[in-house]
Chain length 207, copies 2
């Protein structure tokens, strides 16, 4: 059965981080659903299903697949929860109590929780335990006192036996290796290699 | 004065190629306008201004900034014309007589004409003269008899003195160096370096 991933998005989400992750997972056969998380506590989040247009960090306008419906967005429905960066978007996502609850549920249920750039702030606001993480340097100081902060492009943490896998990454320049790592974890290394080849990376790029 | 770029988009456009180019140029201060080119000769292309939603090659739904209005899309308004790939989207763009006319106008007026992946087909359908180009390998056979086909990640051609600069590239894996080259040509190498640093590319990536 095809793996499934839920990718959150909000006004101010970094459009390259969102799009590269979504597209690469779809190429691997993962069924992706993007869900709009509205700022201000999303008062209509659990009522309507018609998503509003999102204006991303550099002005690209994306229509998400759905509006976040917490009751149907849990780890019984998806294999991975993905939180992109972009400062304003990551602030909305990490401050949402609904998102914080989902992050804890995916982590408790031994699923993949993946965050990139400022999106890693959601690990802290959700209260995930101390473990190796990375992020965009602009939010390093918010994370370094709580977590074992790394400067690797992609950090995979299985710190607590039986709990989820936390995958974190740094910014637009590390989204491809981040997405390939998610494909590897969900579908295996062979699928990741298969997806990578037709993308035509320059010689010398080793992810 | 800020430089301006017109980026074409259609159903089936490769969303990473579109988004990475748009976002990177905006980070450099280039004013980007995305214009929807509808298939079937775009009968309403020069009437309405309200763009329709585009469904990209892997399902990301993007609302362009405008619908292509050929009379206000010419080289007197923009410094660069950019054509992304994605097989179905590139077919629509390269077969559009309006797009073919724009490609020739930008080229004749010594502007930048940039194509990536299958988007390079538009050089041929517009009748640009023989010169060095690259593309995704999947359309190499359509181009190699007409052009001096290269396998470099980004090819910059100023083959005809006084005519435009043709910039071509290969696929999602080469969009970052393609976008940085466009920034360099429009805004200078220092701006390209400035935009690149906060994106956090892995060590060893040399574009």
């Amino acid at each position: 059965m095809a793996k499934k991933a839920l990718i959150l998005i909000a006004d101010g989400t970094e459009e390259m981080e969102f799009t590269i992750t979504y597209d690469t997972l779809v190429r691997a056969g993962v069924e992706c659903t993007s869900a709009n998380v509205q700022s201000g506590g999303s008062p209509y989040g659990s009522v309507g299903t018609s998503p509003a247009l999102v204006v991303c960090s550099r002005g690209v306008k994306i229509l998400p697949d759905t509006t976040l419906q917490p009751l149907s967005a849990g780890p019984d429905k998806y294999d991975a929860l993905i939180i992109p960066g972009g400062l304003k978007g990551a602030e909305t996502l990490s401050q949402s109590t609904e998102v914080q609850t989902l992050v804890r549920e995916y982590y408790e249920r031994n699923k993949i929780v993946a965050m990139i750039c400022a999106g890693t702030l959601a690990a802290k606001t959700a209260g995930l335990p101390s473990q190796p993480v990375t992020s965009h340097p602009v939010v390093k100081n918010d994370l370094a006192s709580t977590y074992d902060y790394k400067e690797d492009s992609v950090v995979v943490s299985d710190a607590v036996p039986g709990k989820g896998t936390l995958v974190t990454s740094r910014g637009p320049g590390t989204v491809f290796p981040f997405a390939f790592k998610l494909v590897e974890l969900l579908c295996g290394k062979a699928k990741s290699d298969e997806v990578r080849v037709p993308m035509m990376f320059p010689r010398g790029v080793d992810y």
